[in-house]
Amino acid sequence: MAVATILNVRDLHVSFDTFAGKVRALRGVAFDLHKGETLAIVGESGSGKSVTGRSIMRLLAPTANIERGSVLFKGADLLKSGEKRMQAIRGREISMIFQDPMTSLDPTMTIGNQIMESYRKHMRASKGAARARALELLDIVGIPDAKRRFSHYPHQFSGGQRQRIVIAIALICDPEILIADEPTTALDVTIQAQILNLMKDIQKKVSTSIIFVTHDLGVVANVADRVAVMYAGRIVEVGRTDEIFYSPRHPYTWGLLCSMPTLYETGERLYAIPGTPPNMLHPPAGDAFHLRNPYAMGIDAKEAPPLFQISETHYAATWLLDPRSPAAEPPEVIQKKRRSLC
């Protein structure tokens, strides 16, 4: 069965002007989003996950430069669309849950008005209809006593409650694409499970495609059809969820999977990838991971690896997959984990 693609991101390069110089946040991000799928994006803090989402929405800081690339949606390049078209798209066709819920809520406006706003604008709904829909969503995302709390301001809610209000706002118009940037990090696991189920229900109902950015690999295992792994402004590995968890091929992905606390006993020292994240003012030449990669070879310092294809759905950008490279085994912890599953 051929998969229908709803969004193509191609060769996306984004930089920021700062006092200290140009921060090269994205350096050639490329991926497809299939209709109705959940694509998880995981990766190092600072690797460009949020900037990728914001680029698609065209909501980057004024100091940002989109240097190259395209984002195709319904036959048009969003990077070339006018602001008017983008306003019609945002919140309706594509909506985004931002990582920092407090900054996406207006502190001076009651949460009731904030939730109704986008519905009234896009659906041309009456105030009464918008209120009913808003209350329904608040109930669905688990804000108890929604009627009474409708007139409260953002600071009167807990971290997780704010995050749920933001989720309600993003979902109110049944978007075709939902970009969810760490949507459940502030939630306890039971409410998190409810929200994940809610997103799956909506996905089933209206076939929403979801880009799900998260650090929680347990959540990834639960929601994702496919996973993309980012490092230093690029996608370094992408594949079906099982492929990434059970046969990862990129050494950064190995390092990430080795750091999970579930693999360790209390009192043990957790594994952390050695070294520090790259300075994106001057990204390292060649494979940006080579300085921290125990498997690095001479070529890694010189030339960036292409994406090697491993299966029909699985790709990784590491020279280890070049036929000329010596065979490399993933670390013992990951192999042990895989064995314990069989």
Binding site: A193, H215, A221, N222, L256, P261, L341
Partner: protein, 315 residues
């Protein structure tokens, strides 16, 4: 590794924190909770979103004036101090890493000044050079570097901001830190780095932590004891392995059954236990069901919980 004769650094006794007290909009965010943390210990606090964890932490470091109760820190009742000078003195010892990193960082200050704020206040550097050096060292400890020092908070990713908050709290060399979701915005490798750092500092400087988090695998890993909160009350508390393996309160059970595990096969077949809230009985309080393991319940329920727990230990 519970050491029974350590001193209690923090004792919270009957703490209540109500918002809009007496009004129609009253919220009983924290409603009569008691617990202690020994010096050098990590106490994990978990619970439903909105149940009052952050409020508990904020009351303890006196961002609020508690509605009722005592907060003994090193023997002194912090709940009763009033003057700003006294509160500032207390904050040399007790710091907080905030849940919302962006909101807690002054947007108009450079990262280096944010991190140096405490240094300037409590332990000023001899000159600008020494100040910079100390800031850079803190930044490196949390996986950032010198090149970040001159940037402003909005120029950072979510996880980078969170680490700025951690560096700021650590720069003060406090004895006690409330860590409110300190690692939730970090990738697992940097989480591991920060957790290793927190544990190293704990060993070398005998630091004490109140560790609030949603990631139960991490809470279990880092904490000596865990408290479970539900709707303003502490419903279960005990040694971390004990709670993780033999937690018996229905809310704890539902939490444990919902922990997402990094294993797609397992996730496809997982079963969750839903929690249906039940109003507590009239004589409900924390009662022991095993050594050091307490559940908020009535006397009759305590016996049932005890049996449930013992059966699980044997199976």
């Amino acid at each position: 590794m519970l050491n029974t004769n350590r001193k209690k650094l923090l004792e919270v006794d009957g703490l209540k924190q109500y918002f809009n007290k007496g009004q129609k909009t009253e919220v009983r965010a924290v409603d009569d909770i008691s617990f202690y943390i020994e010096e050098g210990e990590t106490f994990g606090l978990v619970g439903e979103s909105g149940c009052g964890k952050s409020t508990t932490g904020r009351s303890i470091i006196r961002l609020y004036t508690p509605t009722a109760g005592r907060i003994l820190f090193d023997g002194e009742d912090i709940a009763r101090i009033r003057s700003r000078a006294e509160i500032l003195r207390f904050r040399r010892d007790a710091q907080m890493i905030f849940q919302d990193p962006y909101a807690s960082l002054n947007p108009r200050m450079k990262v280096k000044d944010i991190v140096a704020e405490g240094i300037d206040l409590h332990d000023p550097a001899k000159n600008a050079r020494e100040r910079d050096e100390r800031v850079y060292r803190m930044l490196e400890l949390v996986g950032l570097d010198e090149s970040h020092a001159d940037r402003y908070p909005h120029e950072f990713s979510g996880g980078q901001r969170q680490r700025i908050g951690i560096a700021r709290a650590l720069a003060l060399k406090p004895r006690f830190i409330v860590c409110d979701e300190p690692i939730s915005a970090l990738d697992v490798s940097i989480q591991a780095q920060v957790v290793n750092l927190l544990q190293d500092l704990q060993k070398s400087q005998n630091l004490t932590y109140l560790f609030i988090a949603h990631d139960l695998s991490m809470v279990k890993f880092i904490s000596d004891r865990i408290g479970v909160m539900y709707y303003g009350k502490l419903v279960e508390v005990g040694p971390s392995e004990e709670i993780y393996n033999y937690g018996v309160h229905p809310y704890t059970e539902s939490l444990l059954s919902a922990i997402p595990l990094p294993d797609p096969e397992y996730e496809r077949s997982r079963k969750r236990i839903a929690y249906i809230p039940q109003p507590p009985g009239a004589d409900a309080k924390l009662r022991a069901v095993a050594p050091g393991h307490f559940v908020y319940c009535t006397e009759a329920e305590a016996t049932a919980y005890q049996e449930k727990r013992n059966k699980r230990v044997c199976s």
